[in-house]
């Protein structure tokens, strides 16, 4: 790493409690030497619920997977709790909720057995579930409303219920930030409500969350800030109210490409702050404005 650290975006508080949960500075992520996401500037503070919005293939999942170290970081800086990503070892502080399809259902496993794997970071190699572990596992299942299905084989659960099992697994590690990849994809309306309730319950407890999603509707009342990703870049970020005010334009710009294509007006709508995607320096300005 660099000997002289680049000054962070905000002045760190002396006691360390103000250290941002996540800080990206000019970060790029990808495979080999091909960057999928580049020039990413992003800072997430404690207690924030950040929605990362973008169409399929926009790079929003790559961004999050890069933050988690699942995809190579090609340049720039990524810090988790003030520690550079590459030397970050306190994995239990980050709770990852992947998309459901990463789960193997080729053998039986109960919801409880899967949630218990979230606890492994707190256990030694010789250790087995302690009393405390079991309490945390039960509480996590309870928090996502699955206490009554703890002993059910996960492969028999619905898509939304499986997603809640994965949230409970992440909660079992008692993380300080939850990172969720498309929690509502392929989930029916009834279960989307339950999921949104779960997220609201977590937000009320002050859990920091980063939620990757292609549609905001289900979580609108929980989210505090929106980050829009398009074509591998963060093109807009700001508070939820501001996003809602510009939603029409931003959504047209970034989400309903079909509609835009039909109108033949893609990327050149009047009323946007600038025409076309905003460039990174503009975000920094925006963020500093908000801080001021």
């Amino acid at each position: 790493m660099l000997v002289t650290p680049v000054p962070p975006a905000s002045a760190p508080a002396p006691d360390g409690t103000d250290v941002p949960v996540l800080a990206l500075r000019d970060a790029s992520f990808g495979y080999g030497d091909r960057a999928v996401v580049s020039d990413a500037f992003l800072q997430v503070e404690r207690g924030e619920v950040v929605a990362v919005l973008g169409a399929n293939g926009s790079g929003k999942s790559t961004l999050v997977r890069g933050i988690l170290g699942l995809i190579d970081q090609l340049s720039g800086e990524v810090e988790l709790f003030g520690v550079p990503r590459r030397s970050f070892r306190e994995h239990t502080r980050v709770g990852y909720v992947p998309q459901r399809h990463t789960l193997s259902t080729s053998v039986r496993a109960t919801a409880r057995e899967i949630v218990a794997t979230g606890r492994l970071g707190h256990q030694g190699w010789l250790g087995r579930s302690s009393r405390e572990d079991r309490v945390v596992i039960d509480r996590s299942l309870d928090l996502v409303g699955l206490a009554d299905r703890a002993l059910t084989d996960v492969s028999t659960l619905s898509g939304g219920q499986q997603r809640r099992v994965l949230i409970a697994r992440a909660l079992a590690s008692e993380p300080e930030v939850l990172v969720m990849d498309e929690p509502t994809a392929g989930v029916d309306a009834a279960n989307q409500h339950v999921l949104a309730d779960v997220l609201a319950r977590l937000a009320a407890r002050g859990v920091t969350m980063i939620v990757v999603t292609h549609e905001l509707e289900a979580f609108r009342h929980v989210v505090t800030r929106v980050v829009v990703v398009d074509l591998g870049r963060i093109t807009w970020q700001g508070p939820i109210d501001e996003f809602t005010a510009h939603a029409g334009e931003l959504l047209h710009e970034h989400h309903t490409h079909h509609h835009d294509d039909e109108l033949g007006a893609r990327g050149h709508r009047p009323g946007l702050p600038t025409s076309g995607p905003l460039d990174p320096p503009a975000h920094r300005n925006h963020r500093e404005e908000r801080r001021a």
């Binding site: 992947p98 789960l103 080729s106 053998v107 039986r108 109960t110 218990a116 309870d142 028999t156 659960l157």
Partner: protein, 348 residues
């Protein structure tokens, strides 16, 4: 029947069968979970080359097989971790290269005869030597300890590799560990099951246990028990009927699988008669959903508009009083509704 215990070779074969039957399914469940059910077969192929080298150099074929199988396990995992599409072909090269080399060398080795080759490929009860037994016991202990020690993490990695990686677990070393445990199991099994049939004893007992077990932990225990019954039973039948032990053990395991499959199907038929699920239920019951929860046997029912809803798999079952009395008392209860239902069912 008991006279078979008076032969030294049978005592050794039975001890070997107990070891193999217990440990092979313990490793197999992780292979199934990772969708690598056939990898044990490939390791058996490579182990044959080791056996051949042992015969050629007049050293213990067991040790040579162990070295080669473990080396293959590590290489296979490294290739898989590379994630290239050509990795699949690379595995084929290793596995077929192994068995081809084995067959050729055995033909040229001083102690190599066709009967010898058949015994290694398909297993034979007369081949377990006294010094083998100690090696097998030690190796079986390695597998037993390894699967017990690593089980939580092996489960986590095989269940969701992406999550395991994000949680900082050593994914590649753990995957290599499964490979090495597979290789060790192959070697423990080579005398009585045979190198071409080992994979079956790792997989078939698990396939049977998966039909009825309710959790990973219980599936693992049941598979081990089924493996034990198949292996010991197979050795006994092999002695009585004078059949090759490997084939007999595997056929017995498959027989147990079919028996379980039939039993589970019949049980399912009986259950479906008293099993009534709520047809459309968009609401999810929970702690604070507003519907009172009442204890009912081993589970909780939610009182919902006069119905008792019990969580079952992804849906809710109707657990109203009548249906339950019907189930518990075999319908002898003098209640018009269950009688009516039974009457309809009984009519031709």
């Amino acid at each position: 029947m008991l006279d078979l215990l008076s032969y030294d070779f049978m005592q050794r074969a039975l001890v070997a069968a107990v070891l193999v039957g217990l440990v092979a399914p313990l490793v197999g469940i992780f292979l199934i979970q990772r969708r690598l059910s056939l990898i044990g077969d490939g390791m058996g192929h490579v182990a044959l080359a080791g056996v051949a080298i042992g015969l050629l150099t007049n050293t213990s074929p067991v040790w040579a097989a162990l070295v080669l199988a473990v080396a293959a396990a590590v290489v296979v995992e490294l290739i898989r971790a590379g994630g290239r599409t050509s990795g699949d072909v690379a595995l084929a090269l290793i596995f077929y290269g192994g068995i081809a080399l084995g067959v050729v060398i055995i033909a040229k080795a001083p102690g190599g005869t066709p009967a010898n080759l058949t015994a290694y490929l398909f297993g034979a009860i007369t081949t377990v030597r006294p010094d083998d037994l100690w090696v097998f016991a030690a190796l079986a202990l390695v597998v037993l300890l390894g699967t017990w020690l690593l089980r939580p993490r092996l489960f986590a990695v095989a269940n969701d590799e992406e999550y395991a990686r994000a949680s900082g677990m050593p994914v590649l070393p753990l995957n290599i560990a499964v490979g090495v445990l597979t290789a060790v199991t192959v070697v423990v099994s080579m005398r009585i099951v045979g190198l071409l049939l080992i994979s079956a004893l790792m997989i078939v007992p698990n396939a049977a246990a998966q039909l009825f077990a309710r959790s990973f932990a219980s599936a693992m225990r049941w598979a081990s028990l089924i493996g034990l019954v198949a292996a010991v039973g197979g050795v006994v039948v092999s002695y009585e009927a004078d059949t090759p032990s490997g084939g007999t053990i595997v056929l017995l395991a498959i027989g147990l699988f079919l028996l379980v499959a039939v039993g589970v199907t019949l049980r399912g038929r009986v259950r479906s008669r008293v099993h009534a699920s709520v047809s459309r239920h968009p609401h999810e019951h929970g702690v604070d959903c507003g519907h009172p929860a009442v204890a009912h046997g081993d589970h909780v029912d939610y009182l919902h508009d006069g119905h008792r809803h019990a969580p079952h798999e992804e849906h809710y079952d109707e657990h109203d009083q009548r249906a339950h009395q019907d189930e518990h008392e075999g319908g002898r209860h003098l209640d018009p509704a269950p009688l009516g239902r039974q009457g309809r069912k009984g009519r031709p």
